[in-house]
Point group: C2
């Protein structure tokens, strides 16, 4: 059977992913190395994702703010582990002017900065510096901040959405009076991410703490949500860090306690990014293109009038009227009344993953019916229904799709997680080509042997199992 | 009379503005030269401003997208006027890694970029490059794009919100098949800005075209909305450019017409930024602090329970219940139940410009009344009203404030615009210390003499008068 995307997932998952992005018109590589341009359809998905996340962030008592893009180099020096983790991959601003020299624009040697700046790879340092000034007394705590911004990490092997030099994200930065409050909050945001991914993105996640090898540079504890892609690889989709007093001490975040003494605060940070979009696309899509959960679909319903010249105007008007009735119920609807051929329109919106596709021909208009197809189930779900019924049932159908998509992934994930009792069993599973996550006892005494397997099979420790932290999940990853 | 902000506007407008920003906790200078940190209260105002603008942008058929932060230097070379206008003030990225050298972090000499990048000062070039690929046929036109992003222009004399090295903005970039469509659209966005500023920010603007001296680098026509600050100075709050075919030709934006021939497109660009916040603050605020129009007030109503220890819990609960009833009507309400003293709370929210302040004491709770004060009118508006009545009337009161604030500025602006019949009259008005806008015949034959006055009195041509473009507005400006 011919599919809209070639190669198929089974033939070549990586190429399928690239072509999926082109077919759904989501993004493209830009002329800037490692940076992508997010096209309007992709950005519309991100806006919906962002707004849903932002609601949750605000509901948790966090305030949005905006900190500078550039960070003085000197700030990185202040936290030793942090600099080791991030200094390797930063864009460095060294001049503040261009000049025409020998007919070409070049950095003006006379405009060299005495102290270069780094484009933020993350903002613990610059926000830490501000918190040190903003926090004076226990009355100022907790202070919970977030920003939605672009960050930059030089990437040698960029991939659209999954790993790009510049990316958009939210980064939360909280400071507390005690370690227990900070740790509790880091876990709370971790749970919020898992809830968001299940309920908004229809993606069940594996929750757990990173092992010491995989921790954020400068954290005491890193909590992660890991998604399982259709090819069995892991995608780290969000992290929440308990930073202990590393940044509080480096930047002097101190508060006067009720006891009249100066104490260092305890900070956390937590982030999710446009990387989640890569996870969304790789989790749900099929060989005909994107499949979007209704909550993040720019158009939840597309109406395609099957026009012939004699009925064109009437059918288009009729479709727009139907769209208005659906919009009045809060549903996002597009009428595709362009002059493209009906099958071309149909495939365009299949590839773009619109949850419900409605087709109306002249005969159906007469009968007050329409044909509706669910994107997640495909042709087999095609039904002819009364217009009145559809208007009343549409939101319910969308809710059902949202729910069914989550259940489908939950079911698939079950086949993707294998318990192995020791390294030998792990190796033979990997050797046999088995894909997915492997759950194994986290045994530090066999770490060296473990590292050998990691090297050999390009796997990594994803996280300890929140259900039982004496086990660790291991998988290949994006 | 003691005011919350010192000095007052009359004593020293510039210092008053700086202190206003501190008093209302809106923003602060950051450790990065010329860049500001927008604090949570300031950012909450910006989010409301942005969302209202975004609605209008989307309603005009524009799609949001996201283009890279960095621009290859080479792109600037392609449009000669543009490079002359912008190359002077760019942040230049020359390295992609830091290295510890002699104990301090420095740009790694081995990670020098062969082609440096510039942090976008504006994105006509990088979007032009994409449009050249995205536009193929007349069917692809018009293509209307917008992005909400940070940009950077090195600023020698930064001022919070008004002029900062990094700032946040929306930049729209449209391409059309014909010049008349492009010009019409540039004017349409110009009108949209004026409508937005009147209806959302309660700021009436002067609309007009920039004279050739003040045009955007690379535009054929620049349409501007100019605001009049309380000290009579102009603030350019938004511009919309008809770029002719400058960028279409530089980047090869061509389409196959219905006639089967390749034609160059016609582009426009249009932008507004966090600078508008400076205009908002300087237009409405008074010597006691910020005054916010309800549409962009993070809290439209603040409820202050005047508690004594014996009534504290009951009064706080009562206030929260009232807040819930107001929120159910779509109003943004805060209950200040912190343990600060009531007068301190009162002044805090006066300084932050909350449109309606509600005070409730134990006696009022018993009587089912409350005391409400309008921020824009101050003490004289203080009234005791029945709670039931207030709940039903609150939205109406907010709408009235929104309307009255616009009318008040319209009235003040009338006193700020002076018609002068010639340069001599202009000079004597300026010499006498008269503030505001001056409207004078735009006469190119006296340009040299005019330039002398511009130099002497630090004024500039703000724009031609849209009502009669043979006249030009002249003023000092921010």
């Amino acid at each position: 059977m011919k599919t809209a995307i070639t190669p198929t997932r089974e033939e070549n998952f990586n190429e399928w992913y690239q072509n999926l992005i082109v077919a759904a018109d989501l993004a493209e590589n830009s002329p800037v190395r490692g940076c992508m341009t997010i096209k309007p359809y992709g950005w519309a998905i991100w806006e919906l994702m962002r707004d849903e996340m932002d609601k949750r962030i605000k509901a948790s008592g966090v305030l949005n703010a905006n900190f500078p893009l550039l960070i003085p180099i000197d700030f990185f020096n202040k936290e030793a582990e942090h600099v080791a983790g991030f200094a390797k991959e930063c864009a460095v601003v060294t001049h503040h002017r261009l000049k025409m020299i020998d007919g070409s624009l070049q950095p003006d040697p006379e405009a060299k900065l005495t102290e270069p700046y780094v484009i933020r790879p993350t903002s613990e340092t610059i926000i830490g510096e501000a918190m040190a000034r903003w926090v004076q007394s226990y009355r100022d705590l907790p202070l919970k901040l977030n920003q939605w911004v672009n960050v930059m990490r030089w990437e040698m092997r960029p991939r659209l959405f999954l790993r790009t030099a510049e990316f958009n994200w939210q980064e939360g930065h909280n400071v507390f009076a005690t370690h227990s409050e900070a740790n509790e909050d880091a876990r709370k945001m971790h749970k919020m991410y898992a809830e968001y991914m299940a309920n908004v993105l229809a993606i069940p996640v594996i929750m757990g703490e990173k092992t010491v090898e995989e921790r954020f540079a400068g954290a005491d504890h890193t909590y992660t949500v890991e998604q399982i892609m259709q090819d069995g690889k892991a995608l780290q989709a969000g992290t929440s860090h308990d930073l202990g007093q590393h940044f509080a001490k480096s930047f002097g975040i101190q508060y006067l306690g009720t006891d009249g003494k100066l104490n260092y605060g305890w900070t956390t940070s937590w982030g999710t990014s446009t990387r989640m979009m890569g996870g969304l696309f790789m989790t749900h899509s099929d060989d005909d293109g994107l499949v979007l959960p209704p909550m993040v679909a720019p158009y939840q319903i597309v109406i395609i009038p099957i026009t012939r010249s004699e009925t064109e105007k009437e059918l288009n008007d009729y479709s727009h009227k139907l769209a208005e009735q659906l919009r009045a119920k809060g549903i996002r609807v597009l009428v595709d009344d362009t002059d493209a051929r009906a099958p071309d329109k149909m495939w365009k919106w299949i590839k773009r993953g619109v949850p419900l596709r409605v087709e109306i021909g002249a005969k159906e208009m007469e009968d007050n019916t329409l044909t509706v197809t669910r994107r997640d189930l495909g042709k087999s779900s095609k039904t002819n229904v009364a217009v009145e019924h559809f208007i009343n049932d549409a939101q319910n159908m969308l809710d059902t799709i949202q729910h069914d998509m989550l259940v489908a992934v939950e079911k698939r994930n079950k086949t993707m997680i294998t318990d192995v009792k020791d390294l030998k069993e792990l190796e033979s599973a990997l050797e046999s080509g088995k894909i997915g996550f492997f759950r194994i006892k986290y045994d530090l005494t066999t770490n060296e042997e473990f590292d050998g397997l990691i090297e050999k099979y390009k796997i990594s420790r994803r996280c300890l199992d929140d259900q039982d932290p004496s086990f660790v999940f291991v998988a290949k990853s994006y």
